[in-house]
Symmetry: D3
Subunit: 130 residues, 6 copies
Amino acid sequence: MTNEERYERGLQTLQKMAGEEDVRMIEGMGEFHPDFGHMMIAFGFGDIYSRSAFDLKQREVITLTSLITQGATEQLPFHLHAALNVGMSPEEILELVMHCAAYAGFPKACGALTVVKRVFDERNIVPNTK
Amino acid sequence: MTNEERYERGLQTLQKMAGEEDVRMIEGMGEFHPDFGHMMIAFGFGDIYSRSAFDLKQREVITLTSLITQGATEQLPFHLHAALNVGMSPEEILELVMHCAAYAGFPKACGALTVVKRVFDERNIVPNTK
Amino acid sequence: MTNEERYERGLQTLQKMAGEEDVRMIEGMGEFHPDFGHMMIAFGFGDIYSRSAFDLKQREVITLTSLITQGATEQLPFHLHAALNVGMSPEEILELVMHCAAYAGFPKACGALTVVKRVFDERNIVPNTK
Amino acid sequence: MTNEERYERGLQTLQKMAGEEDVRMIEGMGEFHPDFGHMMIAFGFGDIYSRSAFDLKQREVITLTSLITQGATEQLPFHLHAALNVGMSPEEILELVMHCAAYAGFPKACGALTVVKRVFDERNIVPNTK
Amino acid sequence: MTNEERYERGLQTLQKMAGEEDVRMIEGMGEFHPDFGHMMIAFGFGDIYSRSAFDLKQREVITLTSLITQGATEQLPFHLHAALNVGMSPEEILELVMHCAAYAGFPKACGALTVVKRVFDERNIVPNTK
Amino acid sequence: MTNEERYERGLQTLQKMAGEEDVRMIEGMGEFHPDFGHMMIAFGFGDIYSRSAFDLKQREVITLTSLITQGATEQLPFHLHAALNVGMSPEEILELVMHCAAYAGFPKACGALTVVKRVFDERNIVPNTK
């Protein structure tokens, strides 16, 4: 596989995960810092996300958990949108935040929940929490 | 003790710590994600904060230190207000930030100090720093 | 639900996840620090792990990711054993570590892989990595 | 105040906190890396710990919380001994770990508890946990 | 060396690193919390940055790496400006972010890159990335 | 560039950095988890370390800083050896740890210094610290 093929494969995976605006945002990072942009798409979305051992939904479960655990709230909107796009339900996202409270601590979970609420509001999602 | 009693106990402790607006904010999280809201109040404020082994002031010393160390600046305003409400002096808060500089590093302490200043300004607090 | 029922529910879940030795280890923490032990079982394994929204396998995916991301390698053996006990395959564990390399950085992934290898060796697992 | 006076002040504070063996360990770091050793004693124990705004017991509450939150388990024994030397009770240490579970997550609290048990065993401490 | 001399030395180093506005910002922290401000200048910029073992450019490489690794994005603008002021090229900053992606994970690198872009825009820097 | 060429390039860079035993250790990880091993060498040592924008010594300054900041002490020996192999002096390593104390906190710096001392002892290095 050549670097061009890795990039192409990554771009296809990215387009399955992200809406137009978020693909555009990633491409914008590549315009500012081309080698970084290539690495994100060829390595991140190509070499990692495109592997068949997990489907994209399972990968987003892992990604969201890692982001919440490290307090990377600013990276959450992209991956919350992606998670919803590849089939994670709003209720599963809420459950994931709850499980993370025990492992990463309540501050990380509360910080995440604020962002989750904002993304759900943008998408007019009303989670079924009875 | 039933879950309702744990929740009730937590709510009472929360009301000793937080002003109306902050209680309302916690309740708002519970409206969005009821099980998470229950857990925060029954477990966090009920099972943990309500234990008599430490008073609320000592608990806020621990909470603020943990928040500063993990860089959870967005969770600081709630607990800075709570700390002041339960008897921590402004000067003790400043001293805590200073001690944390050595243990959590200067970036975490500087990030915290910016939030402390904002909260003190909101409450018209002029710390006695000679 | 009373605290006793929460504890009982947690203990049953724990026994589905952990082998005898690991259950014994958790109980040992409870002998040293009874309130902590109660909290771990009633809250951690009872209130969180026992919720039906995710099965135990999905919960271990989240737990392992959080542990790897925060570099909590000493807590990994318990949850690697649990993950294998509740149906995660060795190959899924290896894939999870690989995905985490991109999100938590290579040092965290390498540190985790060393522990994974040790646990696989203990259980005579030879992963199918072709 | 000169650097020599800062160092002298730090050394006196260190000797109030640490047993002979632990003072010796700090001095050993200073033999390997003299400027680092000077900084630890003059700045850490002199400029920070010697300030009168908190007593040494309150400072150890903050230090232990910061260490547990960042997962710095290897630095815990020195400060658990120091905490006990300056008047923190074993029961207060156990309570601190419990409070930290909610803020820093259970993995950090469990990792800390293992070290606490080891230090209590060394000192033949049997905490009063009913 | 007295504390006044340490402070004076730190102030001189700070003025080599930071523009007027950023020096003013640091002084503002000292007006709010004088002992903290003294510590930052006498210890941070005096005792540490002023040591001759590394030049200021090498020190900013280390500082930027530490800030990115701990996700302290809010402290980045000061040190990105300082790095550029003491001779780090825009291309070296971009390369540092890229190297950090592998060690601190992509979320930290992406978070940093957003701030780098903002600082470069403020200074009308167009990096030479071919 | 194909994946084989990326791997080959990475292996050559790795061999410039690491002694036989450490190269063997990396290869051992690749025997246990071939795709991870390929990624580490092709991406880590090939795509990142082999870029000409920084020399290997500058890269090790960044790597060591990131490892110390995240408390990844178990990954330090490999990179301390690598740093010394590619031209970092023992005194520069000690200075780096000292700078990190201010940014990552003293616990991380003390934890690192213990490992540095062990590696220097293994190599019979007596740093010139007068």
